[in-house]
């Protein structure tokens, strides 16, 4: 047995090295964990968005937007008054099928839409892409600064989501249906 009173000095260096390695590893793990959390959040946001808009396959409309179509005016005031060109395009695509004659009451329905409103206020609205018809809670109108009738809060509102070529939702327009009387055909 020796008279040594302390551990060798080399052990201190070894342990300092171990501390350095340990914290480097921890930092790397933390970075990986943060990336995982971001990915998980992105997935959660995607699922939340999907459940929020409640995609309805029967309402899917996937025509490419004609290059000439003005789908949104970013700087235009957000208004429920549809731009004529968009309304015209929309009428062509979503014209309500005529009700069979024997059931007609003389009423016809027509859709009126808002301009496409960009989801990212700083972003622009793509000029081509796909439009998907969805239903949203009426409260979503307030997110775009649109008037919201609280008495009809439980009634969902129809909207067209504009998907860009990257597959991401870039803009949305709200759809309302107006009824007007037409003479019956018989």
């Amino acid at each position: 047995m020796t008279d040594k009173q302390e551990a060798p000095a080399s052990l201190e260096q070894k342990l300092v090295g171990a501390l350095r390695d340990h914290h480097a590893l921890r930092r790397a793990c933390r970075r990986r964990r943060q990336q995982g959390v971001i990915a998980a959040l992105a997935m959660a946001a995607l699922f939340a968005a999907a459940s929020f808009v409640r995609l309805r396959p029967k309402d899917l409309v996937r025509p490419a937007i004609p290059a000439t179509a003005v789908v949104a005016q970013v700087d235009a005031p957000r208004t429920v008054v549809a731009s004529p060109s968009v309304a015209a395009i929309h009428k062509r695509r979503h014209h309500t099928a005529p009700v069979p004659a024997r059931l007609t009451t003389g009423a016809r329905q027509e859709e009126v839409t808002t301009d496409f409103l960009p989801l990212d206020p700083a972003g622009s609205v793509p000029t081509s892409g796909e439009v998907v018809r969805v239903q949203m809670p009426r409260a979503a109108l307030t997110l775009f600064g649109l008037p919201f009738n609280e008495r009809r809060a439980s009634v969902p509102v129809q909207a067209d989501v504009l998907l860009g070529e990257d597959g991401m939702a870039h803009a949305v327009r709200f759809v309302t249906t107006t009824s007007y009387e037409t003479p019956t055909g018989r």
């Binding site: 009173q5 302390e6 052990l11 201190e12 342990l15 300092v16 914290h23």
Partner: protein
Amino acid sequence: MEESDSVLLRQVASGSEEAFVTLYRRHQGRVFRFALRMSGDEAAAEEVVQEVFLTVIRGPVRYDTARGSFAAWLLGVARNHVLKILEREPRSTRDVETAGLDVPDASADVLASLLAREGSEAVKRAVLSLPCAYREVLALCDLEEVDYTDAARALGCSLGTIRSRLHRARNLLAAKLIAAGHNGCTV
């Protein structure tokens, strides 16, 4: 002003090498000496110091300030590692049969003079030949001058047990030294 162990521990947990070195230099000697006295082997003592401070590095350290000093906690961790080493590498010289020894009632003064000669090989051998439970309490309380409360925390037993083991350890050590013809009472 000297930083407290708790403050240094927090800094170590956030990766401060400077804090670790301060903490290490403050405590490694005591851990090393305790392990050396328990094992009688320098390499084993070095291994114990390494393991103890790796525990601090790996954290989170389960040290509770309310339950004693950091030094006592470190000695408790050191003791666990020493016991593992002793289990792994039993030595024939350790834990020799002591039942046949005529155990005198060694007073603290006698022990003090014996332990003052700890530098002598005979005393070291006698300490090493004590049963583990007595050796550890002697190493902590008499050789490292750890207070009884901290020793009780480090060894995980009551204050009364520490006192009785220490008394028995001193008597055993005195008997061994007398039997070996090494009378510390002549000092």
